[in-house]
Symmetry: C2
Subunit: 405 residues, 2 copies
């Protein structure tokens, strides 16, 4: 057999599935490549601050896990996840461990939820804008997206009922705390209405909450999941499905996250996860389980304080250095804020000019499931020093001022 | 809001996707639960021997990685995978690193391949019997399976052409080395014919090779992937997609595996993986990359020797203790052998009687995509001591003898 006896040419692209052809390289991923020049101050990524990682604690936990569990820390383990970790999570939420599924990053939770819930053509309601990664997770299951109107307080629940009436939606996906990308938080009042309306219209509600613990100002509101529990009075009838993660509070590189849901959903998540990766790495789950009791609470305090300082500085510099007509959100926690520049300015077109001035951001348009938001952008303050924030916001202000003139 | 203002009842099961309703709890998983009584000798699981794990080396590698990379070992990383690890894998195969995608266990590789290749109703050809986990990975994408006739030498390539002609298949999935569940290996001659025929009929060929390094007797045959490279003379036109893993050679609990494929397939795998789990855990990939140079070759020798001894002992005891009329495969490597008992005996029905005699196996039927094999079973020797093998095979022989009388 040799290259000379060449076989009939096989067009590999033509053999891809229909869903594969709808997938695109993440717009953000491509943008991040452009902005990764070493001297550019990047507010584009959504990275936690690595200097805050509990490196020494992870080292100690790794050793403790290998000492305590020996080879079992490196062996296959159950699809549901490491029981002590599931029990700890369940205790926080006041639910049985049977309703907790460990996943390999909350991205996997979203993928598995898409897999077990979304049929082709099902209507999925998302905020406008929404978390881009959720769109990527759901897209292979070929939903039809509808965008929910939002305002400064997140989802506009007065407009929601009309959408629920006419859309025949199966699923609503929301990030109620310090949303990615806007940094907005849904009020307690709106949360109640959102949970009641979705229950009334038989629409499953996915609450994605990676940032909820990172509140640096204001009062926490109850989770949608908790409100669902109260509404139904039964953990196994709750139509709210909760997703969270250790990526933003401890470290992201171990890929440990979880989903809380009613038994019928959990049963299918387990089966789907068996086919998807058998189980989340055993060693990693055991390391996280070592850290949740003492290290996690300290770490949450540390991250809150740091991100709060960075957010306040960024907002202060925005107020000082930006031209008039630029609107910004004021996050109460999390990693992001959101800018709306005057109509007519296109933040995607503007990015090369910002990069010339050595500052980068993510244009807002990719966060809209159905397009829009050309005059918006996301800034992340979580992984920037005070000097970078001061210098980067000044450069971005100059870029905007030049564009407006 | 309280339980008394109960919302309209929402039937969660009714909201599941069509594909979720086709998923079932793994038959094996349920069987393993039955057989996990402490005094039962289990040949049922497919677990590597934990006493052979390089525990101390993993400990040293964990410390080295945290020292060398610091917080970067715990940060988000690229979807493609840790470059030094991809480069090492690529060098082994003589291909560019761009054609290597790291995945979270080879189970994830199969899921992502199903996602980017299989449309509903596409015909997927599988061996009869085949790896049950592959069926679980592909099932959510709703293929139609066709079973390929096999014999002692694996896929019957003479019968294959007829199947290719009439089936309109898109994909063929095969485990050519020490197959799970049968332990059979495809000859070099059949491999050539399989690669040529699938190329000729435009059928993508997935080669799943988790056990290839664990040969304890006989001569290795070239991989289907290598034969595909020779046939096409171009890594980016190869219709063979290769999947392998560090789970059976190093440790499974870190969930590190990879896929080698042509650029059009890799490009879609990257996009699919972004939505599936963003990336495989950073720390774990770095640990594996520490181990591949010195520890992996030693470890492969160690595992080969141990599994070879266990396989030889199991075969010797089968010949000594089993009643006439029971056929068995003679694996040249890997972890499994396959029994065919006389027609009319149902190994699923027989299992409780074996468990009464304190021995367990997996009935063969679940490994058939379209049913069949009621008189077959899989035995794993990889995770059993000599005493367990001797005692367990005697008990299984007694069970079979009783059933045949």
């Amino acid at each position: 057999m040799s290259a000379s006896s060449a076989p009939p040419s096989l067009d590999l692209t033509e053999r891809l599935s229909r869903r594969a052809r709808t997938m695109n390289a993440s717009a953000i991923r491509e943008i991040l490549k452009i902005t990764q020049q070493p001297d550019v101050i990047s507010f584009a990524g959504g990275l936690p601050a690595p200097e805050l990682f509990p490196l020494e604690e992870v080292r100690q936990a790794s050793l403790a896990v290998l000492d305590r569990f020996g080879p079992a820390a490196l062996q296959y383990s159950t699809t549901e996840g490491h029981l002590p970790l599931r029990e700890w999570i369940a205790a926080q939420a006041g639910i049985p461990a049977a309703n907790v599924q460990i996943v390999t990053g909350s991205q996997q939770g979203l993928d598995l939820l898409g897999k077990v819930l979304i049929d082709e053509g099902d209507v999925v309601l998302v905020e406008a804008p929404t978390y881009l990664g959720a769109l990527q997770s759901f897209q292979p299951y070929l939903p039809r997206y509808e965008q929910l109107p939002t305002d400064e307080g997140g989802i506009d629940v007065d407009a929601l009922e009309g959408v629920l009436q006419r859309s025949g939606a199966k699923l609503l996906y929301a990030v109620p705390n310090f949303q990615n990308p806007t940094g907005r938080t849904l009020s307690a009042e709106r949360r109640r209405r959102l949970v009641e309306l979705t229950a009334q219209y038989g629409v499953l509600l996915i609450e994605d909450d990676p940032y909820g613990q990172l509140r640096f100002t204001g009062m926490p509101a109850p989770s949608l999941y908790q409100l669902g529990l109260e509404l139904h009075g039964d953990v196994n009838r709750n139509h709210v499905i909760y997703s969270s993660s250790f990526s933003k509070t401890l470290v992201p590189g171990l890929r440990d996250a979880w989903v809380q849901a009613a038994a019928p959903v959990i049963a299918k998540l387990i089966q789907a996860k068996q086919g998807a990766d058998l189980h989340t790495p055993t060693f990693n789950q055991m390391i996280i389980a070592e850290l949740v009791h003492d290290v996690l609470p300290r770490q949450i305090e540390r991250v809150r304080e740091a991100y709060g300082q960075r957010a306040r500085l960024m907002l202060e510099r925005i107020r000082a250095d930006f031209p008039q007509g630029v609107e910004y959100t004021t996050p109460e926690g999390g990693m992001f804020l959101w800018l709306t520049v005057p109509d007519g300015l296109d933040t995607q077109a503007l990015l090369p000019r910002a990069v010339e001035r050595k500052v980068a951001y993510v244009p807002g348009s990719p966060f809209y499931a159905l397009g829009g938001g050309e005059n918006t952008m996301r800034l992340s303050y979580s992984n920037a020093t005070p000097a970078q924030i001061t210098q980067g916001i000044r450069a971005l202000g100059d870029t905007l001022r030049e564009a407006l003139n």
